[in-house]
């Protein structure tokens, strides 16, 4: 099979042909043949993705945690994952200790969101001096994001809340993002699949001729120069706090600048128009699946290797009528051990898992090198709250899917010592995408037994 044909096959899921920059992931086959590099070297060269899927309001743990360690039976909530069972690792006993109140009173939904990928106890404020910590995905994006057109991709299903307070005493900035670029800046997420598509592939208009494209890039550079000059001279006039706000602007502009430079090196790519979504579906399941398509497409085309995906915002009171549940999710999560409410909660949990199964199966169907896209990915799925009624942030429901480019031994349930920081898992994942970090948030080391 010629390389060209292999790449076409690899793209078949898209529905139409598109030519892409040659994936580094395809290189090792040739590289190995040439130099017979060790398996260790292969690990480094194979692209490894990290993705974090977040669900709100806790989990019905009784039907989540497998009863046995090692090889395990799928608990009721996870049953929809049967086709990817051997690609899963269920991790029990992990905690985000800093999501607990620790003297700050209510606001567990906001805290569980802002702490989930940071492991930092955020400052309680309704607005002034927002302070959290950098999240694992952004740390990775800052160090290895330059390998792809988009350092990272943040998507979700629900927009941030538009009025009132999101959670007692916490600004909504804490509740709408799990991804944090710095300790003061949460990263906005895109909730419209069409806009994600357009961001990744352009708006689908016919390709410009090379000359006019070059001209456009020249113009864009001149505009970037202009605004950076403006920002630099403005910065000198501002006090420190305002300068910090302006720094957010600088970061964004520089990212566009860098992307422009990267794009120049790339060959032209055709847009898979048939995959373009038309908007936001009413049905929450369809919405999640369509968004999954976009993320998978981005990973498949190697436009990014890092992504966060919020299936809903924490504290979300959405009702899942599509599965016959008309009460709000948050309202139900305060079940007070009422079996009727608990039944509905576990159905919502299973509904979310069903959507995850769709995404994982899709990734598994996409061949890449000698394996699949799923083999070369690490997908964390979980919640920042364990029991929605108690709002506890230990014994979190955490699932790790994918083979991590040969760095994870899957098909197991591992029980860790109580209150092991979830961030230990993140450190272990950072290793596997080539990011050196000694600590992150409240980490105490690297999570072991994963391989």
């Amino acid at each position: 099979m010629s390389r060209q044909i292999a790449r076409r096959k690899f793209l078949r899921g898209v529905g139409t042909a598109m030519s892409l920059p040659l994936l580094e992931g395809m290189l090792p086959l040739r590289a190995l043949a040439q130099s017979e590099k060790s398996a260790a070297a292969q690990k480094i060269i194979r692209p490894n993705r990290m993705m974090f899927c977040f669900v709100p309001n806790g989990m019905h743990m009784a039907d989540w945690t497998p009863t046995s360690e090692g090889a395990f039976e799928l608990p009721w909530i996870m049953e929809p994952l049967k086709n990817v069972k051997e690609n899963l690792t269920v991790l029990s006993g992990l905690a985000q200790h800093n999501a607990f109140a620790l003297g700050d009173g209510g606001g567990d939904h906001a805290r569980s969101t802002a702490t989930f990928l940071t492991g930092v106890h955020v400052k309680k404020t309704d607005g002034a001096d927002i302070k959290g910590g950098i999240s694992v995905d952004q740390l990775a994006a800052q160090q290895v994001g330059n390998l792809t057109k988009f350092p990272s991709l943040e998507v979700g299903i629900e927009r941030g809340r538009q009025a009132g307070s999101c959670d007692t005493g916490y600004s909504c900035a804490y509740s709408s993002s799990i991804s944090w670029r710095s300790e003061s800046t949460p990263v906005a997420k895109e909730t419209n699949p069409r806009l994600v598509f357009e961001r990744l592939f352009g708006n689908g208009e016919a390709l410009e001729e090379a000359a006019s494209r070059q001209r456009r890039e020249l113009y864009k550079k001149s505009i970037l120069d202009f605004v950076l000059e403006d920002a630099n001279s403005l910065k000198a006039q501002l006090n420190t706090r305002d300068q910090q706000k302006l720094d957010e602007y600088f970061t964004g502009v520089r990212e566009i600048e860098q992307r422009l430079n990267r794009v120049e090196k790339e060959s032209e790519s055709n847009v898979p128009l048939s995959a373009k979504p038309s908007g936001i579906p009413q049905d929450p399941g369809e919405h999640i699946r369509l968004m999954s398509d976009m993320v998978v497409l981005a990973m498949q085309a190697d436009l990014t290797r890092i992504s966060t995906f919020m299936f809903a915002n924490d504290g979300s009171n959405r009702s899942y009528r599509n599965i016959g549940i008309s009460e709000g999710h948050h309202e139900l999560s305060h079940h007070g051990r009422d079996p009727v409410k608990q039944e509905k909660i576990r159905q919502i949990n299973r509904f979310h898992i069903t959507q995850l199964a769709y995404m994982l199966e899709k990734m598994k169907s996409i061949p890449e090198g000698e394996g699949t896209l799923l083999d070369n990915s690490m997908i964390v799925f979980g919640a920042g709250i364990s029991d929605g009624d108690r709002h506890n942030h230990n014994d979190l429901p955490i699932l790790l899917a994918g083979g991590g480019a040969g760095t994870l031994k899957t098909g197991r349930h591992i029980r860790y010592e109580k209150d092991t920081p979830l961030n230990n898992l993140f450190l272990a994942m950072l290793d596997r995408v080539g990011v050196r970090a000694d600590t992150l948030g409240d980490s105490t080391g690297r999570l072991e037994q994963l391989f």
Binding site: G103, G127, L195, L218, Y219, A231, N239, R241, S326
Partner: protein, 834 residues
């Protein structure tokens, strides 16, 4: 902790302050205290308790049914008359309850309170605020220690707050507003007013985060790379919509691109039309409406006694019938001006007079007449392009070849002044001209260059942020600890005003005031406020302030269960939103009393909503003002009875008295309940089973209140919600809760009892000062784009006072906010992170 110490070392206590106490600080103070309570480093604005001089809300004389209930709780129904006093109320209590732990070198949390003599309250304001918070919330003293009574606690807190407020009223620190980027609504409106294209480019921007209940808070409005990307894309779209490029093009369709119905085929690059009715045609997608020149190049193979004839047709209709006298090698151009609408049109050449003789005896008489077409050309649009209004406004001067750069300067200076909302410097204009030159060097038009320059302006931080610099006229006053306070620059004030009232940029009149430097004059300011409130752009107050003040933006995601509420649909949702918006706008426009928010004899309805309310005689989807008759007035009137408010405070399947009560406490009375305990204790199983047998929400909540951890707050929230139980979860009137008879009575912790919504409203209407304070605080937060701090209480009091003096008119509220120190002034603390 360095920062805390800095704060505490300054400013020097002014002499006029009573020396009331000193607090010895340990190094771990703030972290230590934070362990006990939610203690933000900067004290949050906590609305004042009704001042002792306020008459306690008593029975409305007009409503005989309202009575004061006997005091049954430990909460004070009425403040003790005398003002709290340090010697009597503070010092002994601190000594008795605090010093056993908080004293000496090893004081708990590093907080020693034993040296109570030397310094002023201002110096230690943050410590005092922490003491007040911890004592008020009950976190201190700890559970196993002797504790003061509720009344003692309140006296201490009242003293601390009163003393601090008195100090603040002297100092009038305007606080600081963080560099504020335009939020989505502001971006849309600004583009509308600046460029003249109203297509809401920010609709696809990521949501703006909310802080202090609003989405225009400088501290919270962050910029992510995604947003920057959207800014660049939006700027491109905006300028391309606003400015039309000269685009007269000529498109040629050679023979191989022409469609024919004749199989005779081409002949050396021509299309041969051989029989009558043969055609050559092109389907062309015209980009714009306008005139175009159609040019057909053709010749004939002549035969017989008339020339070749060709009919030129547009969409099958003949434009002209022409004689094609030309012969091969000397083709002729046939031109026709056509007028078309944008879109696809078919242009056709039809051969109309074939003549052929094959069987004449004399070969000279034999022959064949044919039409041959070389190509079609379409040129256009012709003449002056149809320029949109925005184009003529932005490019108000035409460049000539010699002066295009000078023209660009004039155009861009004018645009940038409005975009940056201030005069621009020559050096800035010079840089703006660069993209224009660049485009022209690339062989593109002047207009294209202006588009690019405007894209640069629209992505500049000077446009995207409301930049404020430290006031030039600022003076350092020892009272502020060396920090300078001064009036903000007039242009910046113009922006503060326009973004407050219009959520948009200033108009020319405001710019004029700013240029003359008169806006800082309170009289001019008031005149402008009144003018602006009358402008239709003031609808922004309803769209952006009211919708968030009343939490109505959550209506978008409210999801009443169709099984319970089959009548709820999207039309009704829209109508609910519209009712409250129109009601709010009426109060602004007619400058009515803010008390009308609580009760009014009118509202705005359309047919679906009127049906929902059971009000007859309203038909059609148009909204109109409806004045209630006596019967209707028993059910409706004021915000609390509007379906929008009632729906956002409900659960999908049922009402929530808790949410409604909380909403009233927060929105109307400005006394939000404290957050629930972090880990809601699980109810005992036995009680749980009992709970399952309860039929009404009221019974369930009564059970809940048996838990002392829940009781104190729910006793404040639930009764208010009960008073609104006559409205179901979508705001429709009802008299039964399921099958149980409905009980809409309740007793507030302040003692008043009521039965039904009308009596509840009477009680709330009597709490004029609370409502005035609550609304003033919300409007000030929105106007400033920052959270209020403890020291802003004084300002809020002043605004509320001004309302009282002016019959509670809405305009008085807005004028007072605009004239307040925090709105007009700015504190510069250079290089210091506050």
């Amino acid at each position: 902790m360095k920062r805390s110490l800095t704060l505490l070392q300054e400013p020097k206590s002014p002499k006029w302050l009573p020396a009331i106490g000193a607090i010895v600080l340990g190094s771990g103070l703030f972290s230590g205290v934070a362990l006990y309570a939610a203690a933000p480093e900067k004290a949050r604005y906590v609305p004042l308790k009704p001042s002792p001089t306020t008459k306690p809300a008593s029975a409305n004389p007009a409503s005989g049914a309202v009575k004061i209930a006997p005091k049954t709780t430990s909460l004070p129904a009425k403040p003790i008359a005398a003002k709290p006093n340090f010697e009597r109320d503070v010092a002994p209590m601190v000594k008795q309850y605090c010093l056993s732990c908080h004293s000496g070198a090893d004081a708990a949390a590093g907080l020693a309170l034993d040296d109570l003599k030397a310094a002023g309250v201002l110096k230690d304001r943050h410590v005092w605020e922490l003491v007040a918070q911890n004592v008020e919330s009950g976190h201190m003293p700890p559970k196993n220690k002797p504790a003061p009574t509720r009344v003692q606690r309140d006296r201490l807190v009242e003293w601390i707050q009163g003393t601090l407020t008195a100090v603040d009223c002297q100092i009038k620190d305007p606080g600081q507003v963080t560099l504020h980027r335009l939020n989505r609504a502001e971006y849309n409106n600004t583009i509308r007013d600046l460029v003249g294209v109203d297509f809401k480019p920010a609709a696809d921007f990521p949501s703006d985060d909310v802080g202090y209940g609003f989405d225009n808070i400088g501290d919270v409005l962050s910029i992510s790379p995604l947003l920057i990307e959207k800014y660049f894309n939006a700027a491109e779209q905006i300028t391309e919509k606003a400015i039309v490029l000269p685009d007269v093009k000529t498109v040629r369709f050679n023979a191989d691109k022409l469609e024919g119905n004749d199989d005779n085929g081409g002949d050396g690059g021509n299309v041969l039309l051989g029989v009558t009715g043969s055609t050559a045609a092109v389907d062309y997608d015209f980009a714009k409406d306008g005139n175009y020149l159609l040019r057909v190049r053709a010749f004939g193979q002549q035969f017989g006694n008339e020339p070749v004839r060709m009919s030129l047709q547009l969409d099958g209709k003949e434009l002209r019938l022409v004689d094609v006298t030309a012969v091969e090698k000397e083709p002729q151009n046939f031109e026709e001006t056509i007028t078309v609408k944008a879109g696809k049109h078919k242009l056709t050449a039809v051969y109309t007079n074939n003549y052929k003789v094959v069987d004449a005896p004399d070969p000279k008489d034999r022959g064949d007449r044919n039409l041959l077409i070389e190509h079609f050309e379409i040129k256009g649009p012709l003449g002056e392009p149809q320029l949109p209004e925005s184009h003529r406004r932005l490019i108000f001067q035409k460049p000539t070849a010699e002066n295009s750069e000078a023209t660009a300067r004039v155009i861009l200076r004018a645009f940038a002044r409005r975009a940056f909302r201030r005069p621009v410097l020559d050096a800035e204009v010079e840089r703006m001209v660069r993209p224009v030159n660049l485009a022209q060097k690339q062989g593109e038009s002047f207009e294209r260059g202006i588009q690019l320059a405007m894209q640069a302006i629209l992505t500049s931080p000077h446009f995207l942020f409301r930049v404020e610099t430290n006031p030039k006229n600022a003076k350092a006053d020892p009272k502020y600890g060396g920090e300078k306070i001064g009036l903000v620059d007039d242009y910046q004030l113009a922006s503060r005003l326009s973004y407050f009232l219009w959520s948009s940029m200033p108009d020319e009149e405001l710019f004029d005031c700013a240029a003359r430097g008169t806006l800082k004059d309170p009289v001019v300011l008031e005149k402008q406020v009144r003018r602006m409130l009358k402008d239709e752009k003031a609808q922004a107050l309803a769209d952006n302030f009211a919708s968030q003040w009343l939490t109505l933006r959550n209506l978008d995601t409210a999801a009443p269960d169709p099984d319970y509420f089959p009548d709820f649909n999207e039309d009704l949702r829209t109508a609910m939103r519209q009712e409250t918006s129109l009601f709010f706008q009426a109060i602004v426009r007619e400058d009515r009393s803010i008390m009308d928010f609580l009760d009014a004899d009118f509202t705005y309805l359309n047919e679906p909503l009127a049906k929902h309310y059971g009000i007859a005689g309203v038909s059609g989807s148009e909204f109109r003002r409806v004045v209630f008759d006596a019967l209707q007035a028993k059910q409706r009137g004021g915000l609390l009875t509007q379906a929008s408010v009632l729906t956002v405070t409900s659960n999908p399947t049922r009402t929530s008295p808790v949410k409604r009560g909380k909403w009233v406490l927060e929105t109307i009375l400005g006394t939000p309940p404290p957050p629930p305990p972090p880990n809601v204790p699980e109810l005992v199983e036995a009680k749980k089973e009992a709970a399952a047998t309860f039929t009404t929400v009221r019974q369930r909540l009564q059970e809940h209140r048996k838990n002392p951890a829940c009781a104190s707050c729910h006793a404040r929230m639930d009764p208010i919600g009960f008073g609104l139980e006559n409205y179901d979860a979508t705001g429709a009137w009802r008299t039964l809760d399921g099958k149980a008879p409905l009980d809409a009575s309740g007793t507030l912790t302040s003692g008043e009892s009521f039965r039904g919504p009308t009596q509840l409203k009477s009680i709330l209407k009597a709490k004029k000062n609370e409502f005035a304070m609550a609304l003033s605080a919300k409007l000030l937060t929105y106007a400033l784009g920052r959270g209020l701090e403890a020291r802003d209480k004084c300002v809020v009091q002043d605004i509320a006072k001004s309302l009282t003096k002016n019959d509670y008119r809405f305009s008085a509220l807005v004028v007072a906010v605009a004239q307040s120190d925090p709105f007009r002034k700015r504190r510069s603390n250079e290089g210091k992170v506050q």
